[in-house]
């Protein structure tokens, strides 16, 4: 069976650096950090990390109330990103209801804010009568994807990939498969996430968060750096429109990139410890799926969240597969770790930068940590380079690895 080719023709981003992929890359090019001290987080006993990268929610009332009522914060971000992706693709919105367009938006959980509110409402008196009918729809694991589908009147395949920090890359990989198998012609794929002390708290209890920069938030997270001390949570949504290549060419669509290969695998080893062998296997399989040798990659957009162990394992895995020839950077120093949204936002930013001939540096990487050396870090200023093939890594708690390979025309 001949597989169809799949391209990205639309990109939508709502990130801590603003709405739109243009705002995202402007923020990165200005070297801006969206990380800030989070007011009110000091009220949470035991929450050591007090920094986060919030995104601004605005214009949400443009979404009709009948649709908006079932949306928590992450779904509002997701709908805006999906609308922007469709507009960027120049696609007639009526295509959404053709049965040929599907939607996969992943997230770590349902709306963290709504889940917290639901328990706060219900538990003090064990009283369910105070709960809004909408709480269920806010808290569902597939809240973002089903809200995007309902709001945009999508009647193709709709599903949610829930794999924490790899959720968006799972969505993109699954959407890629659905189109290349001929089951759908278009897929809106990506992830969404929202910032809440309970989200940062879940990493904090595992000692995975940044805690030393609570008064100097712009200095953290520090991927691959000697002085890194953990991740900083962010929020937003990144959604890309994937399209059958032949269809995109026929309608003369602008092609951001072609998806060449994808792989995801488990370490089968440990729920929280990063696994270099699994990362290596995943990158190799994704390259194999793409029909490429490691030397043909032009840029690696790393997962690198600035945890001590994760960055070390990823740097070692990249070194084992690619040596020190391929430029590598992480974008989390600008906007924190947007978790389930991260892969889509970071891929959108990488592609937008590459279109300008730029590879963005790892913000806050001042001194490469000894265990993260031996790979070619992009540091300091953006690097001018005619780069076409990008490898996007995502690794998640639960031993999940995911890697996507794309080529810009």
């Amino acid at each position: 069976m001949k597989l169809r080719r799949v391209v990205i023709t639309g990109m939508g981003s709502v990130s801590p650096l603003g709405r739109g992929t243009a705002a995202l890359v402007q923020g990165i090019e200005a070297g801006r950090s969206a990380v800030q001290v989070m007011e009110g987080w000091e009220k949470y006993i035991g929450l050591r990390s007090r920094v986060g990268a919030p995104a601004e929610l605005k214009d949400e009332k443009l979404i009709p109330r009948q649709n908006r009522r079932s949306m928590g914060r992450m779904s509002l971000f997701a709908v805006q990103a999906a609308q922007d992706a469709l507009a960027d693709a120049g696609l007639d919105p009526a295509v959404a209801s053709s049965g040929r367009l599907g939607c996969i938006v992943g997230s770590t959980t349902g709306s963290a804010i709504s889940i917290s509110q639901a328990f706060e409402t219900m538990l003090p008196d064990r009283d369910l009568t105070k709960l809004s009918s909408m709480m269920f729809f806010h808290c569902l694991s597939h809240t973002a994807t089903m809200n995007v589908a309902q709001c945009l009147k999508i009647n193709g395949c709709v599903m949610a990939t829930s794999a924490a920090c790899a959720s968006a890359l799972h969505a993109l990989g699954t959407g890629y498969d659905l189109i290349r198998l001929g089951r759908q012609d278009f897929m809106l794929c990506g992830g969404a996430e929202e910032l809440h002390p309970t989200v940062t708290g879940s990493f904090d209890v595992l000692f995975a968060t940044s805690v030393k920069y609570n008064t100097t938030p712009h200095l953290t997270p520090r991927p691959f750096d000697r002085d890194r001390d953990g991740l900083v949570c962010g929020e937003g949504s990144g959604i890309l429109l994937l399209e059958d290549y032949e269809h995109a060419v026929a309608r003369n669509a602008r092609i951001h990139a072609e998806l060449l290969g994808f792989h995801t695998c488990s370490s089968g080893d440990h729920v929280s410890e990063s696994s270099r062998p699994a990362m290596v296997a995943c990158m190799r399989e994704a390259l194999h799926d793409a029909g490429l040798e490691p030397r043909q990659a032009d840029y690696i957009n790393a997962h690198a969240t600035a945890t001590l162990q994760g960055d070390k394992e990823e740097a070692e895995a990249i070194r084992e597969v690619f040596g020190d020839a391929v430029p590598v950077s992480s974008l989390k120093g600008y906007m924190g770790h947007t978790l389930g949204a991260s892969a889509a936002l970071e891929l959108a930013a990488s592609l937008a930068g590459m279109r300008k001939g730029l590879l963005y540096p790892t913000r806050n990487l001042d001194n490469v940590s000894p265990e993260c050396q031996g790979i070619r870090h992009v540091m300091g200023a953006p690097e001018r380079r005619d780069a076409h093939v990008v490898v996007k890594n995502s690794f998640a708690f639960g031993g999940i690895s995911a890697v996507l390979v794309c080529r810009m025309p």
Partner: protein, 91 residues
């Protein structure tokens, strides 16, 4: 509680919870057809009215007969009067 107070507080629920402009909130306005509420909104209307008026109406069968805003006002008024009458004299 007077009917005017009930009307004002009920209308506030419709404005705040369902984003319906005040000028549309006439007593004759039909909740489903004219104000655009659906079955899910009714669940939230009940939750909001219970909170606003400190009453319990979730299990009250009379809710099913409500069609217009006036029906809501009168239902609340009736409940409030029943509650007054049930209260022991002098309390």
């Amino acid at each position: 509680m007077t009917k005017d107070e009930i009307v004002a507080l009920t209308n506030r629920v419709f404005e705040e919870s369902f984003e319906i402009p005040a000028e549309k909130l006439t007593p004759q306005a039909r909740i489903f057809d004219e104000l655009g509420l659906d079955s899910l909104d009714i669940v939230d209307l009940i939750v909001a009215l219970q909170k606003q008026f400190k009453i319990q109406i979730r299990e009250d069968e009379r809710v099913r007969t409500i069609r217009t805003l006036e029906d809501v006002y009168m239902f609340i008024l009736t409940l409030k009067q029943e509650s007054e009458q049930a209260r022991p004299a002098g309390s």
